[in-house]
Symmetry: C2
Subunit: 577 residues, 2 copies
């Protein structure tokens, strides 16, 4: 692959681009544009920013990702969880609703874009591996609950605040008697219609004579329909007179390119949040990108994805938009609507650009309640409590990680939630590997195979004890392993040969090497020999760099079977147990 | 073991205590007392506290550990590294030399004592496992360098300060022209004498007719000799008139029992440092305790050690002492002088008590330079750069951990040094396990043994690919493993059976299970089957709790040999390579 093709994956598909692909991409772009117009306004509102910033974040960023990203079908733009994190991060630094809020949001997009670019260039994509699936699932579920709670005030036409999900719920309940009925009518209608439309619109369109595919595509226009109907209603019924909150005047036209402000202090205050947004945005995007690529036998390149998403965020910042990433549901719609290449995203960007030019005057009467309903309906499908149950059934430590993530996210916020989730999974992993399973093994009769004496009927001899340590030996578990070996020695006073069967030992670090040296010495003092069997190539390479093998009282055997065959000559076999 | 015997290990040896043991313990106590008098004064000075607090920390804490600790030969009391950490921690909170400094030091002892007790009762001793040997070695070396640097000003009779080792060195050099020659004479004499005494005193005493054992014991009196000589010199030559810094009046008598002050703010400020001191103190103590116990075939109980050391620190706090732990060199001396039980420590406490009652008036003329020399000589043997070289030769990641620890400890202080060392070792461990070694394996001819095709001459068939993943499958490495499996699949288009040989897989967490499910699905779509072989008991138990085994397209084989034997029927064998 040439350097250009690696840096600009778009050159790959552009070179052999066909008119059939263009037709597919055009249809997908139309579907996604119709879906993205209300989404971009809504997610900007969720981020606490003016709605037009959502439109701006849906033009240049799509083009930037189309050029630099490695997924052919990912739909980049504003997404719910990144918008929530944006609102949290920017709200901690400047007053919500102020002019500084806009510039801080743009700064956040720039920072997270630059961080993604750096992580991609330095091949730091592996950082995302620290987020386990249960932590991600728990984080998405808890964030979605917070998002739904945060939008309920728009549906009810009340004000409600709270530093965490519980305080927010309490404040909603405290103010619920102040509900504005006109707002509730609009919001309730939009909610009911959108929930119905998700399942009910497509069959209705089919019954009206459309093909299944076209019906499914047109059904994505549900939110746009809700926007049109409620905007018209607000205009005709003069709902602003009834205190229904409306979006208000949106400046028409395309975004003007500009450089974000350089305020070192603000950069420092936003840096931590930008890093978290980069990582969470990347994980969300790459997981859907991978899934879709696998379905068509394509591959995506993790580090190139960081570069594509980083470019998209920088593009969003210089055109006055909010932080963006690859959206889950929108990418699936793009894929299913037939998008063949990122040309679909470029065409979508043109569509949103036209909307910004032509449609904005008509959106002044759009009720905020409609956007809130669109957010709630889109996000509610992400609330997935089954992952908690699954973790509970499969592994208690995965359960603790997911429960920690959900609990802290709901109680202390998204940033602490994801940090504590990661810390908890690492701590639990270290805890598990610090107390490895250690089995005394014997030969399965008639084979060269050795298994745990407590689980299988195997042959052993009292003067040879073989231990299989089911873990790499490293600093966190050496003292446990040392204690266990000494305990087993104490139980087997007749032992003459101790064999460490190293099938599961993938690494011996320096702490472990020092412990093995003292174990070897101790066993020698007891008059026995220490042998190793089935040592893996990389481990053996490392041991050869030291004098451990010279000091080892016994030998190193290629296979456990050989070890027993050679050491057994002096000692008769007996069945165990 | 009864509950009493578990809580108070002393009841074990007290019940069968013999007069022969008493005689041994008495000799050891005499040797350790003579060693501990100057050490306790010196380490109190190192901690920035009045020298008498070192004596107080050498009475009740020894009795408390004797009752609750599980090591028979550990010598608890002031130690250099904990004193350095005390000076750092308390100096950040209150003005050095002030009355508050004393109360804050006592509070720190209390806090770390309570933390050790809690960790012991909650069985959190495993926390110490996070400190790898290279990190501990690096930390001790760097701390020792800082201690030597911090004491040089007393030898030179100048003042020097610095936030880190480099700044301290710079300040020493800047002020070196102000060296007080009288002080330098005292300090230089003490240094020279003590360095010589370490090796030279014992042969001299033997030549004078003492037995080797007695000569070796008496040689431990070197520091006391230096104290006597330089104190007499200071008194007779009126060195205080020549601006030689002296210890000054030390209150005579035993410590009075008192409760530390309760200032919640100060507790909060000292809590982090107290936790670090607890962990470092515990690690230092338990490593020497383990080594000595192993030499006599005894065992020590990690959690009981925490309780013993916690009790010692609480005892130090209530009697006005500084934080304590088990000292390395002193414990070795205690052991080699013949200490049989903790009665030696109780007798040492009595010795120090007598010293506090009778000797303190004579110590007013003791030059600080003598104490500094005693510290430098004691600590210089701990500076061990060979561990860095060893880490470099054996494993680059151990080297990075030790280099990080030393660099940050010297440059940014002891607290950040140990924290960064731990974080670096965990990060490096995660990094290594996130990119596991994955081998394609084949059968070693004439055996049932399977090894890496790239390292051994083995038999394979093109339609069966066996992968051995040399790591547990968990969140940090699943995406790497997934990519690798798909890459190997792409290289082997003819494959019909993929066998995952699970000898080295000790755990499959929920993230990994979900990836295996999608790999199984993907392989099915390619028209091949996924099999597992040699799955360990605990892993199989976990998989059985899910529907993974039902969905698995292939089978689970007890041994890799069975798997190949059964699957090979349809496909002929060929030699590889």
């Amino acid at each position: 692959m040439s350097r250009l093709a690696r840096l600009l994956p778009a050159t790959g598909w552009l070179r052999q681009y066909t008119s059939a692909e263009f037709n597919s991409d055009l249809i997908a772009a139309a579907v996604v544009t119709v879906m993205l117009i209300p989404q971009s306004l809504a997610y900007a509102m969720l981020a606490g920013a003016p709605p037009v910033m959502g439109l701006y974040a849906s033009i240049l960023p799509l083009v930037a990702y189309a050029l630099f990203g490695s997924s052919r079908t990912l739909s980049v733009g504003p997404v719910a969880i990144v918008s929530l994190m944006t609102a949290t991060a920017v709200g901690q630094v400047v007053e919500p609703g102020s002019a500084e809020y806009i510039s801080a949001t743009i700064t956040l997009a720039l920072l997270s874009g630059v961080m993604m670019l750096l992580m991609g260039l330095l091949r730091f994509g592996m950082l995302a591996n620290l987020l386990s699936h249960p932590v991600v699932a728990g984080f998405i579920t808890a964030s979605s609950i917070i998002i739904v709670l945060s939008q309920l005030k728009h549906i009810l036409g009340i004000s409600a605040q709270g530093e965490n999900a519980f305080a927010l719920t309490a404040d909603l309940l405290a103010n619920i008697t102040a509900t504005n009925l006109s707002t509730l009518c609009v919001g309730g209608f939009a909610l009911a219609f959108l929930f119905w439309a998700r399942k009910g619109l497509s069959p209705l369109l089919e019954a009206a004579g459309l093909s299944t595919a076209n019906a499914s595509r047109l059904a994505k226009a549900g939110p746009v329909l809700a926007v049109i109907v409620t905007t018209l209603a607000a205009w005709m019924l003069e709902l602003d007179q009834r205190a229904v909150a409306l979006v208000g005047a949106i400046p028409a036209g395309l975004p003007s390119l500009s450089l974000p402000t350089f305020e070192v202090n603000q950069w420092r205050e936003l840096a931590g949040a930008a890093l978290l947004i980069s990582i969470i945005g990347y994980v969300e995007s790459v997981s859907v990108g991978k899934t879709l690529a696998a379905k068509r036998g394509q591959r995506i390149d993790a580090n190139q994805e960081l570069i594509g998403l980083g470019a998209a965020n920088v593009a969003s910042a210089v055109s006055g938009g909010i932080p963006v990433t690859g959206g889950f549901s929108r990418s699936v719609v793009n894929f299913e609507a037939g998008a063949a290449t990122q040309m679909a995203s470029i065409l979508t960007a043109i569509g949103i650009g036209l909307a910004a030019l032509l449609l904005t005057p008509y959106l002044a009467y759009l009720p905020k309640a409609t956007l809130a309903a669109a957010i709630i309906v889109a996000i509610s499908s992400l609330i997935d409590l089954s992952s908690i149950k699954r973790a509970w059934l499969y592994s208690k430590s995965d359960f603790i990680a997911v429960a920690t993530t959900i609990g802290i996210t709901l109680g202390l916020g998204v940033e602490l939630g994801v940090i504590c989730g990661v810390v908890a999974s690492i701590a639990l992993h270290l805890h598990k590997t610090s107390q490895p399973h250690i089995a005394v093994v014997g030969e399965v009769p008639g084979t060269e195979h050795f298994r745990n004496v407590e689980r299988h009927r195997v042959i052993t001899t009292p003067r040879i004890v073989t231990l299989r340590i089911d873990e790499s030996l490293y600093f966190a578990n050496v003292s446990f392993v040392e204690d266990k070996i000494y305990a087993i020695l104490a139980e087997n006073p007749e032992v003459e040969h101790i064999i460490l069967m190293c099938t599961a030992i993938n690494e011996i670090d320096l702490s472990a090497l020092e412990v093995l040296e003292s174990v070897n010495e101790r066993i020698r003092e007891l008059g026995a020999d220490l042998h190793l069997s089935e040592v893996k190539g990389p481990v053996m390479d490392a041991l050869k760099k030291t004098d451990f093998l010279d000091k080892l009282t016994g030998k190193v055997y290629l296979s456990q079977h050989q070890a027993i065959a050679e050491l057994e000559i002096a000692t008769p076999s007996v069945y165990f147990p």
